[in-house]
């Protein structure tokens, strides 16, 4: 009975293989009747404001390895993610419209999704970086965002020893903290209904064209994580610009604001201008930023509240140099936070 013998041999081999895979903790069985209880997760390629920074790939793989090591996630292979992005002609991950997120999730068999946008990467004076992580659940709802800002001097020990010398060292240094933030983001409980805000691109400072996008991304993150709002997907907002025929925010109109809000479901619109930004140059020249923001009622197109903040990394709260902030993105976040607090946002009023 050669056929029965072959079947027995195949079953035994399959069982042995499954047992070996389970023991190694690398089971990749999926689909109905899956034995794998780990959370499926796709970490999209990191992209960002800074072109030509190869170390973003290193940042992504450091995070992926850290997440894999927790044993709680089944990380989708990078090649599969890349081919899905290519198949749907998705090039810019930072401004994924909701539709694209849904298509991508369906293509990848509905995993959780993690994106990373590099807001700032610089190693001219010392390795300094900031990456904004955003997570989506398998249904395409955004779970939230985390701002991961790091500077070599902050990663060194109390005696200023062991400061990372390269960006790759910078990613790897405090990787555990980074992984914890990502896990926290993915496993966070669903949020209830929140007022939806569309964050328009800020007018950039004249000599820093990237500053408008940077400020808008950080403002959106703060609104979402600290000021109880839901932020419309930047990609949806860009699509709505096209639909409302908005060519320039400088010549925006009430009708267009209303149309924009209708297309994104935003009750409020936030607009701002970066008046001045200086990313700093280490001790002796801390980062500096000045900006204004206005919150509009999307229905009437009228300003409701306005905020103004300027902040330097060595401001008055610093005593004898302790507490100085030399990270340009956390300095920007501090300025935005202060402006939001002063604005007394309408949904936060008691």
């Amino acid at each position: 009975m050669p056929a029965a013998g072959a079947a027995r041999t195949w079953c035994a081999a399959a069982l042995l293989a499954a047992a070996a895979a389970c023991a190694a903790g690398t089971s990749e069985l999926t689909g109905s009747g899956s034995l794998d209880e780990r959370i499926p997760l796709a970490v999209l390629p990191f992209q960002g404001a800074v072109a030509g920074v190869d170390d973003l790939a290193a940042a992504r793989s450091t995070l992926v390895e850290g997440l894999r090591a927790t044993g709680r996630f089944r990380l989708l292979p990078e090649a599969g993610i890349e081919s899905s992005l290519a198949a749907h002609r998705i090039r810019v991950v930072e401004t994924l419209p909701s539709e694209a997120v849904e298509v991508l999730l369906a293509d990848l068999d509905h995993p959780f999704l993690l994106t990373g946008t590099a807001l700032y990467v610089d190693d001219r004076f010392e390795p300094t970086a900031a990456i904004l992580l955003r997570a989506y659940d398998p249904a395409g709802r955004r779970l939230g965002s985390r701002l991961w800002a790091l500077r070599a001097a902050d990663a060194a020990d109390a005696f200023a020893l062991g400061a990372p010398e390269t960006l790759a060292d910078l990613w790897a240094g405090p990787a555990r903290e980074w992984v914890e933030q990502a896990v926290d983001l993915i496993e966070a409980p669903a949020r209830g209904d929140r007022p939806r805000v569309g964050v328009l691109p800020f007018d950039p400072a004249p000599d820093h064209p990237e500053s408008g996008r940077l400020a808008a991304l950080v403002a959106g993150h703060l609104l979402e994580e600290e000021f109880g709002a839901e932020v419309a997907e930047p990609g949806d907002l860009l699509n709505a610009f096209v639909a409302a025929r908005v060519r320039s925010l400088e010549y925006f109109g009430t009708e267009q604001a209303r149309e924009l809000a209708g297309n994104t479901g935003a009750r409020w619109l936030l607009a701002g201008s970066v008046l001045e930004i200086d990313y700093g140059n280490g001790p002796g020249q801390p980062p500096k930023v000045s900006l204004t923001m206005r919150l509009f009622d999307a229905e009437s197109g009228r300003s409701i509240v306005s905020g103004l903040a300027d902040r330097s990394g060595d401001e008055g709260e610093v005593v004898f140099g302790i507490g100085q902030n030399f990270h340009p993105v956390t300095n920007l976040a501090a300025a935005l936070r202060r402006a939001f607090e002063d604005m007394n946002l309408p949904w936060a009023r008691s």
Binding site: P206, L249, E250, Y251, F252, G253, T254, S273, L275, E276, K288, S290, T292, R294, F296, G301, R302, S303, V305, S306, G307, L308, D310, S312
Partner: protein
Amino acid sequence: MRATTRRILPALLLAGLAAACSTPSQVVYLHPLADLSLIKRIAVMPLGNLSSNTEAHQWVRQILNHELLVQGIFETVEPWEVNRVLLEKQIPQDGIPSLSPEQLAELGQELGAQAFLVGDVLQFEQGRYGNLTAPEIGLSLRLLDVETGIVIWSATASKSGIGFTERLVGANGPDLTAATSELVRNLLSTLST
């Protein structure tokens, strides 16, 4: 005689220090027949720029809009509405002062404003005082009645030099934004009195 010198010398020193320190100045004109309480809504027009900072007028206009909204003296037309209407009517950004009273009235009607705030940035830079820096700002603002084109209110203010406290502790003066914001706030406060 010695006692008198002891009393006068510190006073002279203090007066000298004060003279060398920050010098804010302000001149305000209000039309004798103007009733500002009748004005509810104004439009902040693009400002002229006579300073060496090419972006100063944009910067100050942003701060003006912010302070007007915060102080709530008048309702303001959204800056993007102002820009859009100026573009539609092909009026250059610095063309408001040269408009005829009829054109002003038409523009006012279009924007739903009873007055236009116009003006110039005269000076806008960080001055150097030895090792220290401090802002040097000069502003001139006018409120025009859209019906007649008459100047209802006019104010010029400047702020320069380093403050006494900063000089004493060897610290820099405030940033340009903070100093501009304070100057604008002080100027606008003369509208509500």
